[in-house]
């Protein structure tokens, strides 16, 4: 379990980056409907740790984040890349407890 931040720090349709003790970087997103998602922060197409800085939106109704480097869309719920279906990023468990966002 890793503490990310107070829930009130998050803003709808935006991401933040968090660092796990093992050095893994995780991008945590709050969407407009109030749900939380956590994906690996490293963009598999560029290797840069930037997914938390992507634009959040939807593609055909599916909530996604778009990598700021080469613009591939990743499904927030599954980590699957919608532009190249054989590529995906790892999904992390995330929850809010006592107003604090935690990665599980």
């Amino acid at each position: 379990m890793t503490v990310v931040c107070d829930f009130e720090v998050l803003r709808p349709e935006q991401g933040v980056a968090a660092l796990l003790p093992d050095g893994t970087q995780v991008a945590v997103f709050l969407t407009a409907d109030g749900s939380l998602h956590a994906l690996d922060n490293i963009d598999p197409f560029s290797g840069a740790a930037v997914l938390s800085r992507g634009i959040v939106g939807d593609r055909g109704g599916v909530p996604v984040v778009v990598s700021p480097v080469y613009k591939q869309a990743f499904e927030l719920a599954t980590g699957k890349c919608l532009d190249e279906p054989e590529v995906s990023v790892a999904v992390h468990g995330v929850r809010v407890r006592d107003g604090v966002v935690e990665l599980t």
Binding site: L19, F45, R59, V66, V87
Partner: protein
């Protein structure tokens, strides 16, 4: 064995012939008398805008031996040898004469005096300019053009461009007697006289005499004109001074048959020097058509000259003039339908057969927009509506009607290309049919045919909005909506995406909705805008402070150096005369800005779809050749438009003289100094599809210049598509440059006050975006590496040294889960 084709003459028609035969088996040798490569003589008067011959050059010829500055002095048809001025001899298997024409100079006493010129070549224009420059008359200079036809009016226009007030003297009782009838010419005269021309018709010059530095011309009607320069532009004669012992036509020109072949089967003649079955032609389109005939013959074909359509549509001194078919109603029993609207300044005459069933021809002056639909109807049934007062001209064109007369492309060819899916836009039509690649006047018709064939690309911005960017702009402007959420709820669907969010953010910013990282806007911004810096491949950013006009003090240069050194940033000079600092992490950005802002710098908006930089040369302050203060103007423009959000980035430059060291014509808006003020060019681009900017206004003062730029930029911001640079916008604008000029110079739509007010609001509202973050703790808080470990550097970022600077270690692309 390879056969040799010799082409004598490197004008537009000779050039076309070689282009067609470029990939044939012929070895081609071209003799050109002029030392410069072939150029667009039709556009000669535009040379005065830039004095750059490169602007007029035709595409360079490849696959031939081009002997420029080598006049062919004799031909020995028995030995089949052409001899050049240098003594060189080339043996031919086929010879094409494309020697063009010479200006006709009427035998006026004094016509050889210094200060008297002809109007035919770039060199002629240089000579005229030298005469005008040497004239010591205070105020505007005075000139006379002998000849009031098409060429004469072109020459008068060129003189105007040199600051000369021209008198136009025409022997016939009206201007453009060949193309235009009396009614049309009357209107034409009224319209051009508003432009500082004085027209004298039905008279001629009886003598020219020198009086000190002036020339005095006496006209047959008794008038005396006091002049600085005289230009003869009274028509052309086929050039046949190269004597091959071949028969000439009744009005000159090498006599050829319908295959453009002389009595000697190895010798052809094309263009203005040819008399095809006895008839000479002074237009480029029939010349091109002859080039195609000869190219076909030389490739074993049997094509013959199909005759020429002498219809013309042109803009002379800003006045539309068109003439087609039997313009003078010479057909027996022909009827004329004339609408002469003196108030609107338009004249139209349709000529129809005696039963009013067949369209025979027509004349249009003042507004020639119906020319493209009328000309193809010549010889065909005339729609009855056309003959009613105010009759609609939007008529169905027959399939065999010629749309592009430069390349003889029919409507059928074009619709076939569209319907077979080969061409989906104007650019593809140009590539596969050649239509629109000549004079370009049929491009609006190409667009119409695309639409008629049902090719209309969806203008929807993305899956969330069915509106185009321009439509969304108007919605946001009219409804004063200030948030994306409100806009997508009311006018769109879903939650938005990486296409519509930044586009809407840009629209909101163009309408002055405060800092772009405000609470309602921050989540819409692409990463560059969100961090006010440029994302690089390893996840770091680069920082570009504004250096207006590229001018910087040593103290400020030192600050940039110190900041780069202290933060370990890689530095590079950009193409826009500023300095880019690379390798900053998200948490370093505010620290770097703090140092820069304290030293008097501000954001350079290198990250934004916004004004980037206004490049400049040093101008009059230092340069021996400069004619205006280009640095001063560049700084003024950059400070005026800094922070202006637009559909795509905006680049600009100011050059202090026609040498154009700032490369202004490669910019979205570029300014070039003239002796009288500034020329403004718009729609230039480098990059993927380079395009030279087009001249919008010339010789304007600084106040007018800025007013026109204000209007141009705001009009572009309101109407362009997402990520559409000004070059593509202008190319796609209905009515093109003329329409743009009508809107932003003549204020035809009556929106200029509004456009200027919008720009004034931008200038008032401007605030440095970096300072806006530094002064706001909430915005500042977003610049952290990790929300749970602020200050801990991103472990994926590392650097190595290259040529004494830090550069990124290439990131390993992680093993992707497949």
């Amino acid at each position: 064995m390879t056969q040799t084709l010799v082409v004598i003459g490197n004008g537009m028609v000779g050039h076309r012939l070689v282009e067609i035969l470029r990939d044939s088996s012929w070895r081609i040798v071209v003799f050109g008398e002029e030392a410069r490569p072939a150029y667009d003589r039709v556009a000669l008067s535009s040379y005065v805008d830039t004095w750059s011959s490169a602007e007029l050059e035709l595409p360079p010829l490849t696959g031939c031996e081009l002997r420029l500055g080598e006049k062919a002095v004799s031909v020995d048809r028995e030995r089949r040898v052409v001899v050049g001025a240098s003594g060189i001899e080339v043996t031919y298997d086929a010879l094409v004469l494309a020697t063009g024409s010479v200006p006709f100079v009427p035998p006026v006493p004094g016509r050889d005096l210094p200060g008297c010129h002809v109007y035919r070549t770039i060199d002629d224009l240089d000579d005229i300019r030298a005469t005008v420059k040497a004239a010591d008359r205070p105020g505007r200079h005075s000139g006379m053009v002998l000849g009031g036809g098409l060429l004469g009016l072109e020459a008068a226009n060129a003189l105007r461009g040199m600051g000369v007030s021209p008198h136009v003297v025409e022997l016939a009782p009206r201007l453009m007697p060949i193309q235009v009838d009396e009614g049309g010419a009357g209107l034409l005269k009224r319209l051009v006289e508003k432009l500082d021309l004085t027209v004298h018709t039905g008279t001629s010059a009886s003598s020219i005499e020198r009086d000190g530095s002036r020339l005095i011309a006496k006209l047959a009607n008794g008038l005396e004109l006091d002049l600085d320069v005289v230009v003869f532009s009274a028509g052309i004669r086929p050039r046949t001074d190269l004597d091959l012992g071949l028969e000439l036509g009744p009005r000159g020109g090498y006599l050829v048959d319908a295959a453009c072949r002389t009595a000697d089967p190895r010798v052809y003649a094309i263009g203005e020097c040819a008399a095809v079955e006895g008839v000479t032609y002074g237009l480029v389109a029939p010349g091109y058509s002859m080039a195609e005939v000869v190219a076909d013959q030389l490739s074993g074909g049997a094509k013959v000259f199909p005759g020429a359509d002498l219809s013309t549509k042109l803009k002379l001194l800003g006045v539309d003039v068109a003439s087609f078919g039997d313009a003078h109603a010479t057909t027996e029993g022909a009827l004329e339908v004339v609408v002469n609207n003196a108030v609107a300044g338009t004249y139209s005459k349709l000529v129809v057969s005696d039963d009013a069933k067949t369209l025979l021809g027509g004349v249009l002056v003042g507004d020639a927009s119906s020319y493209l639909s009328l000309r193809p109807l010549v010889g065909k049934e005339v729609p009855a509506a056309l003959l009613q007062p105010g009759g609609a001209v939007d008529v169905e064109m027959p399939a065999d009607a010629q749309v592009c007369s430069c390349h003889a492309v029919t409507k059928q060819t074009i619709t076939d290309a569209i319907q077979s899916g080969v061409a989906c836009d104007v650019a593809e039509l140009k590539a596969c049919t050649k239509a629109g690649t000549g004079c370009g006047s049929c491009v609006p018709m190409l667009k119409k045919l695309l639409t008629d064939c049902g090719v209309e690309q969806s203008k929807a911005l993305c899956e969330h909005f069915t509106y185009s960017r321009a439509e969304l702009f108007e919605i946001v402007r009219a409804t004063r909506i200030t948030t994306f959420t409100a806009l997508v709820e009311k006018h769109g669907t879903g939650r938005g995406c990486d296409i519509c969010k930044p586009a809407v953010a840009s629209i909101l910013a163009s309408l002055n909705n405060g800092h772009i990282l405000g609470e309602a806007q921050v989540s819409l911004q692409d990463t560059n805008d969100r961090f006010l810096a440029n994302l690089q491949r390893n996840g770091t950013y680069s920082v570009v402070p504004r250096i207006p006009g590229g001018e910087i003090t040593p103290e400020k240069l030192i600050v940039i150096g110190e900041v780069a050194r202290d933060f370990g940033l890689y530095t590079k000079i950009t193409g826009g005369q500023r300095i880019d600092l690379f390798g900053a992490t998200v948490d370093q950005l505010p620290q770097i800005w703090r140092r820069l802002v304290d030293a008097g710098f501000e954001s350079g908006h290198a990250y934004g779809k916004a004004l980037r930089t206004v490049k400049s040369c040093v101008g009059t302050t230092w340069c021996r050749y400069g004619v205006q203060d280009s640095v001063g103007l560049a700084i003024e423009l950059e400070l005026r438009y800094r922070g202006l959000r637009s559909p795509h980035k905006l680049k600009s430059a100011v050059s202090g003289c026609a040498r154009e060291c700032a490369e202004a014509r490669g910019k979205d808006f570029g300014v070039i100094a003239t002796e009288n003020g500034w020329n403004l060019y718009v729609g230039g681009n480098g990059g993927f599809t380079p395009r030279h900017a087009d001249l919008l206004v010339s010789d304007v003062d600084t106040e007018t210049l800025i007013k026109v730029i204000d209007r141009f930029l705001m009009f572009y911001i309101r109407t362009a598509d997402r990520l559409q640079r000004t070059s593509a916008w202008l190319e796609g604008l209905d009515g093109g440059l003329d329409h743009l000029r009508e809107v932003v110079v003549d204020d035809k739509l009556g929106i200029c006050d509004d456009l200027e007010a919008a720009m004034a609001a931008h200038v008032d509202d401007y605030a440095d975006e970096w300072r806006g973050v530094l002064e706001d703790p909430e915005k500042l808080a977003r610049f952290t590496s990790f929300v749970n470990a602020p200050g801990t550097p991103d472990p994926t970022i590392s650097f190595r040294a290259e040529r004494g600077q830090r550069v990124p270690v290439q990131l390993g692309i992680p093993e992707v889960v497949r």
